[in-house]
Amino acid sequence: MNLHEIWGEIFNFADYGALLSLVRNSLIAGAVLGLVGGLAGTFVIMRDLPFAVHGISELSFAGAAAALLLGTSVAGGSIAGALVAAGLIGVLGAKARDRGSVIGVLMPFGLGLGVLFLALYKGRAANKFGILTGQIVAVDTPRLSWLLATSAVVLVCLAVMWRPLSFASLDPDVAAARGVPVRALSAVFMLVLGLAVAVSVQIVGALLVLALICTPAAAAVRVTASPVLMPLLSASLATVSVVGGILLSIGSSIPISPYVTTISFLLYGVCRAAGAVRTRRGWTARRPDTVPT
């Protein structure tokens, strides 16, 4: 295969219009997913949970693989796996210093189970590969409804918890003193994060969820520290990554994930550069009219 052919494999825009109508569901799913990933990612970054996201997505993968083997709903399986993982990490890893090791123990176990289920599964190989690396054609209307319903739950929970969860993430002691139910919030957030991971797994695949739930937020926090602009920017970056990834990948036979991860990585690079400029120009500059006396 020469370079030209490889390029043709990666970017193929023949019959684009016809294909576009086929992925309408996926585009809707992608846009909603960008919103979910970008907003949940804000707290993943603040609470230092990227490793937890990865751990949850591996168990979500195991759940989806089990569902595939048993012939039940893959969406249900991935949600169940993600919730079990999020619950375990929330309970066993409540203290930040235990969390890493708890996840390190859970993750290979989940991945191992997933490999076992996939090895036993005798169906289409595309199904197997899809759970790991993402798929877009598979978003039929019942699946889309699932996805939208789960996303709605995540978004409502995040909206309700937003302020106290920010407070508890920044300063748990003071938040507790002000009456914020810190421990309950942190447990509920883990479950919400589990749901967010499970829906992401369905589109970008278990291996690459971080590109959706971590990268956009990590990029956004480089350019703004406003508690309102940062999540909005994060959600926009995530949406651009997923929708852009879908649009680029339509014509090719390649899974969607490399497109999404590449866009989101490039956006991160741009934001980092912009942040560096901003810092050099004096982000920390004090207001000139009130220079310390």
Partner: protein, 219 residues
């Protein structure tokens, strides 16, 4: 404002302090001393309603301490802020006012003005828009004090607010807090190891140093 009667605190078998009887009136400046692990932070947690006494009684503003009271401000023992926190100094102060409420951030003119006021009070107005993770230790400490003062509390609990500050900032922060009690008649409980700077402002000193039979000493 604060009344402890024959109070004791133990974690399991270990008694931190007992027989503690103490009254703090409005506008009074109480300095709490004691070695590491003597239970100073735990005492503040009792006053905040985050920790129960093992014996004795405690009242704050005439009632059992409860969480989330606007009448009590709290400056926690020094900690750095987590990295990658999308919050500016002004947002940290605002959390003291409505950070515990449900729902997303909403713009509110009145809250905004209040935040500007307290930031000005502690001399932090010029770095109001700096991300919290980029503030120096002393700046962050002043912003934390502004947060604690944001609800205009009648009692201010400060847990080693001078730790990690240079001599000049120690003085600034101490004077800031001492001024507060003169202007607003706020009762101050001030935990510290820095006796030199603080004792001149103190009305009374509570020494938890001898962990097993501590008592309130009039200064």
């Amino acid at each position: 404002m604060i009344a402890l009667h024959d109070a004791a605190l133990s974690y399991g078998e270990r008694t931190l302090w007992r027989g503690l009887t103490l009254h703090v009136a409005a506008g009074e400046f109480l300095v709490v001393l004691g070695s590491n692990g003597s239970g100073k932070t735990s005492l503040l947690k009792v006053l905040l309603g985050l920790q129960r006494l093992s014996a004795g009684t405690v009242t704050v503003n005439g009632r059992r301490p409860r969480r989330g009271s606007d009448l009590v401000g709290y400056v926690p023992q020094h900690k750095s802020v987590p990295p990658h926190t999308p919050l500016r100094a002004r947002d940290l102060v605002r959390m003291g006012i409505d950070g515990h409420r449900w729902g997303p951030w909403r713009p509110q003119g009145e809250t905004r003005r209040r935040v500007e006021d307290v930031l000005g009070d502690v001399g932090a107005a010029q770095f109001a828009d700096v991300p919290v993770e980029l503030l120096s230790g002393g700046e962050l400490q002043r912003v934390r004090i502004a947060q604690a003062l944001a609800t205009d509390p009648r009692i201010l609990l400060c847990d080693e607010p001078l730790a990690s500050l240079d001599a000049e900032h120690q003085q600034t922060v101490t004077e800031l807090i001492a001024r507060r009690r003169r202007t607003h008649n706020t009762a101050i409980v001030f935990v510290t190891h820095e006796t030199a700077n603080v004792l001149p402002h103190a009305d009374r000193v509570l020494d938890l140093a001898a962990p097993h039979d501590s008592a309130a000493l009039p200064a």
